[in-house]
Assembly symmetry: C2
Homo-oligomer: 322 residues x 2
């Protein structure tokens, strides 16, 4: 990443994060259910990169719109993303104890409150968009995009497929371990186990689980910023490519980084026999796929007038260390 791009990302963060942070937990301060409010704020305040809301705001700017008009969309995206992490970390799902370097929500507040904190954040995402400023038709359009991306045809569906894949992989490992000796040799090898979930299936899960919301981040910003149909389409395609790049980089980091780098458990994909880009393509192959996806994103941006920030972010996301 060039020095200019790095400075641009830094400048965007300094400009946009305070705007987001000032608004992110306001809705969860005053309410009868104090402990639940605390649980929601805990996960929102854990920080993270705020990639989705920042991309949403930058997309609005890229089409000549105002930051303020896209802010409800940015907040909604972060609420959805945060709720999805809380629910993903639950014992019945990925069963994680650590997230962004801190104990996961259910470890601090208990499973019941973690489920409800997720439900509350998901619901608030739609409230902030419904109550936000701006033209009603645009807000409804943004709401529809968000619900489609976050729902069972998007993120939630991807999580279900991922869970089913892990359950199958686990059953298979148990069968191999528990069966009589001869069976292990007759059964499929490790490589064949992975081949159960072919490359198309891996891409489908990623497109739904991670890609849908990232793609929507840019398109929601475009809609709230008043984009022309052509600009909106370009940002949608950019989001598609960035979503893919983001997931490949996630997989690479899980395979190569340390717990301390990530603020969560590293190497857990391999530990679960989970299909990843490195496991299918090798590390070099995965890095090449990441480069290609990033190039696609940059190509799609080429027609936009105010594209400098999004270009810098596309490069930054491909090189991030956590």
């Amino acid at each position: 990443m060039s020095q200019a791009a790095a400075s641009r990302v830094q400048a965007d963060l300094e400009r946009l994060l305070p705007l987001l942070d000032a608004r992110l937990t306001v809705a969860f301060q005053q309410g009868e259910a104090e402990r639940l409010g605390e649980a929601m704020r805990y996960s929102l305040e854990a920080g993270g990169k705020r990639v989705r809301p920042v991309l949403c705001l930058l997309a609005a700017e890229a089409v000549g719109g105002q930051i303020e008009s896209a802010l409800p969309g940015a907040l909604a995206l972060e609420y959805i993303h945060t709720y999805s992490l809380i629910h993903d970390d639950l014992p019945a799902m990925d069963d994680d104890d650590l997230r962004r370097g801190r104990p996961t929500n259910h470890k601090v507040f208990g499973e019941g409150h973690a489920i409800l904190a997720g439900d509350g954040l998901l619901t608030e995402a739609f409230r902030v968009l419904a109550d936000g400023p701006g033209e009603p038709a645009r807000r409804l359009e943004a709401l529809s995009l968000l619900a489609e991306a976050a729902g069972w045809r998007g993120m939630v569906g991807g999580q279900a497929l991922d869970l089913e894949g892990e359950a199958r992989a686990k059953t298979h490992r148990l069968t191999k371990r528990d069966g009589p000796k001869g069976e292990a040799q007759e059964g499929p090898s490790e490589g064949e186990t992975l081949a159960h979930y072919d490359f198309d299936h891996l891409q489908l899960i990623h497109r739904l689980k991670t890609g849908a919301l990232l793609r929507a981040s840019l398109e929601i910003g475009a809609v709230l910023g008043g984009a022309t149909p052509a600009d909106r389409q370009a940002l949608r395609a950019t989001g598609e490519a960035l979503g893919l790049a983001f997931q490949i980089q996630d997989d690479i980091l899980d395979a190569t980084a340390t717990d301390a780098d990530l603020g969560k458990r590293a190497g857990k994909d391999a530990g679960r026999g989970k299909i990843t880009y490195p496991s299918l393509l090798g590390l070099d192959g995965a890095r090449k796929a990441l480069e290609e996806a990033t190039e696609t994103a940059l190509c799609q941006l080429a027609s936009l007038p105010n594209r400098t920030s999004l270009e810098a972010w596309a490069r930054y996301l491909a090189q991030r260390a956590n």
Copy 2:
């Protein structure tokens, strides 16, 4: 309940349930995440009384609006209600095995899918309203009402407070059982334990957990039906009273009916030392409170031109057997 009122309720059900049933699961038929779609349809198809969507449609009619314009609101309300039951039944929450006479969602599909099925239904509620027909400003208003009623200042907040109350009651019972002998006598009696959660707190939990969505059902129908401000206010107040009546009757049924009557475990409130209207006011006192709440609802309806159905439903809900 008069014969005329009973016939009216029956006629409304015959007219409205087929409309709802024809639309309720359409959104969950075609998708990549087939098993998740199945889980969502399982709980939607379990039936139930469809009280919230029917009240929404009747409220739209009561203010002279069209059924079709309120249908997205009705579907959204049933999605939210159904998701809340799935999540409430989870082991980390009420831990129920039976709902509407069938195994609960997580018993059939596993906890992970049950959590995701709830998330998917909650998300779809907002999508169906965002994509529905009708004036954008009205749909946004309905969306905002729904999110407020379902969120952490409404239903989800009530569930959190309820959970906290149960946890405290459980801790207290454990302390009494496990402590040295002398402690049990020094500690508070059963009656005093109940007094920990005073009447105001019981009402607060019910107002949030059950009341908020029932109240919103009528107001959302009013908004989508194009109500005048006065009619909308009357329906909001009707919903407030009906929500209270509904909860009192729920408590009475839990204390008096059988499992077979309810299609779920009866007597579970008392088994958990949970505060209920009968436990605080006695059965007769609870029945009196139910009557009063129903009368309040009927008074509020008096100014509406097309009120016959809602009046019949107010009487029906107070006398329902499950």
